[in-house]
Amino acid sequence: VDPRVDQPKAASRTSGARQARPAWSLSAHAQRLITLGLVGLILAVITRRPEFAGVAAPAVLLLAARRPDRPGRIGVTVRPSATEMTEGEHADLRVTVTGAGEHSVDMLVHPRFAVVPGAPGGPAPGSSAPGDAVPSGPAPGGPAASAPAASAPAADGPAAGGPAADGPPGNGRTSSGDTGLPFHITRTGRRSLGTLEITLRDRLRLTEGHITIELPTVNCYPQPAAQRTRVVLSRLPSRLGEHPSRSSGEGVEFTGVREFVPGDRQRRINWPATTRRGRLQLNTFAAERTQNVVIIADASSDVGEPGATPVDLAFRGSAAAARAYLAVRDRVGFIVYQRSVRWVTPGLGARQYYRIMNLMLAGPVLARPLSRDPVITRLPRAALPPGSLILVFSPLLDRRLVETLRDLRERGFSILIVDVLNAEPSGRTDSLSGLARRIWRMEQDAIRFSLRELGIPLVRWDGVQSLDEPLAPYAKRVMVSRR
């Protein structure tokens, strides 16, 4: 395994209770009241008209009633309900504010890229703008316990002990001391949830305390596409597995009948055939072998709509393929082709699945300069075992990868390409741009034609349909591995 894979594991973490010092200031409402009071009184003096002093009176009364007591520190606990999730899966961010006294607590999540505040049934992904307008107000339940702010939440109690968010879900804004803020993530990766802005307001809403807290990071795995069928090679390495091979062996799939020879197991004697022929006949079965599958996800061209780019499709398809092959105990390896190449050597089991998922989370290693050499051919033998089926999820926009695939085919590897290109160059609609776009399309067709000519099957997948549909021609029967 590439050692770099395990390095960013610490990124997945939760935030414990922390003490925060609010930055207190006059609210905009108080500033407007001050303006009204001052202007009214000044005009009353200048014009000698008492009604202007009357205009200022409500503002002056409200300002005079302001009480200076406010907490110097408050406790904030932020805990997501899950730190590992898949795309589109909903989770809650549990926020508890303690030690805020009788101040109301208003929370607003500023989500980062691909993080969408909202609950199931809430607004559609992408429709919720940061800072969406929702009602808020002082939390129900009255003042909190007056224990010191530094005490544990259990001792202090939430600042406003009401139920969860009193605003509608789906907007990331609420006003309560103990709140669940629903969210989901739309793209694979290690995602920082963003920042949480907490505003404390006094009873008269004249002073405000602001706190901004960095929210924890969550690992978002790709949502595997639907795949039930598998492509199996005609030649399989001699390891025990679940795929019936051409050679006879100890499997369960019946292949024929032959004459009994000394040493054969008696329990396999086919008595009806023996009766018909007068000599002992034996059932023969296909040997069951495992398959080495190496999945290559091309993450070099992140073009198109976020959430449906070729990279997203490549990861979803790779996750589906890995899950499908690992389910039948095949050895599955994984290679991410980006600015650099990262890989997981073929392995078995659920643990291997999560190793593959973790490799998808790791971002590109930008420190390494972009190499012009076809790096995949230089991977160690363990990463690309001979006789492996190589499944490539790629938009085929990177010429280096195309050349590398040609080279791998010439070296005898069985390759199947799943084309995930679902975007075109955008631009003006004039004739020159149209011509350039047409040439680009012809180039893409030429690349695909040349790969097919080399004997590399190529299927197209749009990311919406099941992977079984494009793979059906190759999954119905074994794929002949040619050298």
């Binding site: 407007r32 001050i34 001052l38 009604e51 409500p58 300002l63 009633a65 109301s104 008269l204």
Partner: protein, 180 residues
């Protein structure tokens, strides 16, 4: 709910400006201040409609969008509601109107300020409940002031005393800003 509150704030802003402009038409400097009050009122409404500042980085926007965002940021930063407040009060002071006229303007301005606050903080009307007694007391004082102004004019010491009291109150209001 927010749209309704913003609508109410718009209505109150229009009402305040129109009320302070009466009797029409204002001339000279009053016309200029009226134009400023209208502009401030419209911009304060635009500010409410824009909402809080978006958090996405502006790096991937085209120049037109970036310019629009800069203009929006400018609108968010400046205190348009305060500007409208000052303009309407000055406009009211510029022409001689009846005390009850000014009193009603005061009520409308106070309502406008609360509507702006509710729209700005996306809060419900119920959050103003703790302030209700103080607002009621303030409105009572306003009614008293209007009533006092409608009494026959007294050019003697009571008017001077009122001016001194107003001056002291103005200093006290300015002092309220200092602790924060």
């Amino acid at each position: 709910v927010t749209a309704r509150i913003v609508g109410a704030a718009g209505f109150l802003a229009a009402l305040c400006v129109a009320w302070s402009a009466l009797p029409l038409p204002p001339t000279g400097i009053a016309a200029t201040i009226l134009a400023a009050a209208i502009a401030f009122g419209v911009l304060s409404l635009i500010r409410l409609m824009l909402g809080p500042e978006p958090v996405e980085p502006a790096g991937f926007l085209d120049p037109v969008q970036r310019s629009a965002r800069s203009v929006a940021d400018l609108i968010r930063v400046l205190p348009w509601a305060e500007g409208m407040l000052v303009a309407t009060l000055v406009l009211e002071a510029l022409h001689r109107s009846l005390p009850w006229h000014t009193g009603l303007l005061g009520v409308a301005l106070l309502s406008y300020l609360f509507a702006v606050h509710l729209a700005e903080s996306r809060a419900r009307l119920a959050v103003l409940r703790p302030q209700a007694p103080l607002i009621a007391a303030g409105l009572g004082l306003l009614a008293l002031a209007v009533g006092a102004a409608m009494l026959p004019a007294d050019t003697g010491s009571s008017a001077d005393l009122l001016a001194i009291l107003a001056g002291v109150a103005a200093v006290a209001v300015a002092g309220l800003v200092i602790p924060v």
